[in-house]
Amino acid sequence: MEQMIRESKKREALGRMKKESIRNLCLGIVGIAGLLLLWDMVARFGIIPKNLIVSPWEVVKTLAIKMSDTKPEGSLLLAHITSSLIVALSGYALALLIGIPLGLLMGWYKAIDRLIGPVFEVLRPVPPIAWIPFTIIFLGIGLEAKAVIIFLSAFIPCLINSYSGIKLTNQVYVNVAATCGASRWETFCRVGIPSAMPMVFAGMRISLGNAWSTLVAAEMLAANKGLGYMILMGRTYGRVDLIMSGMVMIGILGIIFNAVFDRVERFVLRWRVTR
């Protein structure tokens, strides 16, 4: 093709791509704006009674006030967030630290699977919330107890995904490592684990969601700080704005977690064919 025509065709194609990405961004903004508008309408025109719902703007106002005002429940917004983050992340970290290695080992070594598999199958159907009373008896109501509840909810997807991920390891890779002189342990570390990584990450993502959404339940354990506690206090004081602010904050932090997670995943799994 002639250089001139080629150039103009290229400009055209790039323009189309840019237009499409702008359009996709606009659609996303319209969706969020639509939700905010609907929410505002419902609150403004009293479709749901005023004492049961507040408008988005009032949520923003409450969040702003809570930056510097400890009333009514006794802590600043930032303190609540920090407390929740510590609880959620320590439970989550514990789940990763135990769930992933255990799942990988169970998936690779049959004897470990036979040993721990049945125990796991018995404990698995018990919902994390059902552990709360038991946890209180043993650990009281401090950080440890809450972290354990979150751990229980985040641990299972981690373990299951690591387990099935490493089970799917292509036998050819195992053979390659064997003919290259790798020991069984080296094969586990150098072949099994990397090949399981995409599934492990999928499990970590599910776990993160579980951990974050169990937070409120964990903070029902007579906490005195945390976003879940703030929501509960909102109910006690009849402050709908406080409840909704807490919910919005949990949502926003969830989005941030996901974005950070995406980055990490893309870096670690950079060898993978991009979707």
């Binding site: 390659v176 003919t179 060898w271």
Partner: protein, 256 residues
């Protein structure tokens, strides 16, 4: 030609049966074979005839039900440092770049990083992948991936290279290219090669000798000496065609 060289690898009455309560599967009945040093030996057999099982026994991935394997006159068991393998397809790790794939052998044998990087470079260069050390398999074409596989087998410091239908998954064009490529590499750096294929033309194009296997359970049906065909071989020459006809007639196509 290397036909009167010393015997590098010897299989004696190798047999493989997979036992099962639902019915046994006889894969290899009895294969005895002598491979000369630096020879390019092709093992030709119909699909599913047990040729891969035979190779797997030689490189120690599967234990023979019966029979013995000798390397340089000594009996060997399990995997052997001097024997490496090029696998059929996609056998290079997607999470390792070309260099990391190629240096696997030396790495597991505890070779120092600088040393193995250097020899890795040498073999990547030899297979024509200079400049692709840092590329991940997803960025390489099928032919390039198989070159990585060949470089890895060479870099394992192995004296015997087993190749299990290495070009079976490539398109026809690339396959011809890779056949020339493997001969070029072999002529540059002579090793003993056992090359398994089900493609008669490929067998005649590459081999010093061809071992023809029967259909499953495999036995050695015939051994052809091709040293009278000069290299590089012309796959439409008269002698080539005659050889091709002879082998085609002798080969079980595996149809019951």
């Amino acid at each position: 030609m290397p036909l009167d060289g010393k015997i590098k690898l010897k299989a004696e009455h190798l047999c493989k049966i997979y036992f099962s309560s639902k019915g046994d599967m006889d894969a290899v009945e009895d294969i005895s074979l002598e491979v000369k040093e630096n020879e390019f030996l092709v093992i030709l057999g119909p699909g599913q005839c047990g040729k891969s099982v035979f190779l797997n026994m030689l490189c120690g991935l599967e234990e023979p039900t019966n029979g013995k394997i000798y390397r340089d006159g000594t009996e060997i068991h399990g995997t052997d440092e001097k024997i490496s393998m090029v696998f059929q397809r996609m056998a290079i790790m997607p999470w390792k770049n070309s260099m990391q794939n190629v240096e696997m052998g030396p790495k597991y044998h505890g070779v120092n990083k600088n040393v193995r990087r250097q020899s890795g470079m040498r073999f990547l260069e030899m297979v024509g992948l200079k400049g692709f050390e840092g590329s991940y398999p997803r960025q390489l074409s099928g032919g390039m991936k198989q070159r990585v596989g060949i470089a890895r087998a060479y870099n394992a410091d192995a004296e015997i290279l087993l190749m299990d239908e290495p070009f079976g998954a490539l398109d026809a064009q690339t396959r011809y290219q890779m056949q020339d490529e493997i001969l070029r590499i072999w002529e540059k750096d002579r090793r003993t090669i056992l090359f398994v294929t089900n493609n008669i033309e490929e067998a005649i194009y590459l081999g010093d000798r061809i071992v023809l296997l029967s259909k499953r359970p495999a036995v050695v049906k015939e051994i052809y000496d091709l040293s009278h065909l000069p290299r590089p071989r012309d796959n439409v020459s008269r002698s080539f065609m005659e050889m091709r006809k002879e082998i085609t007639d002798a080969m079980d196509l595996g149809l019951e």
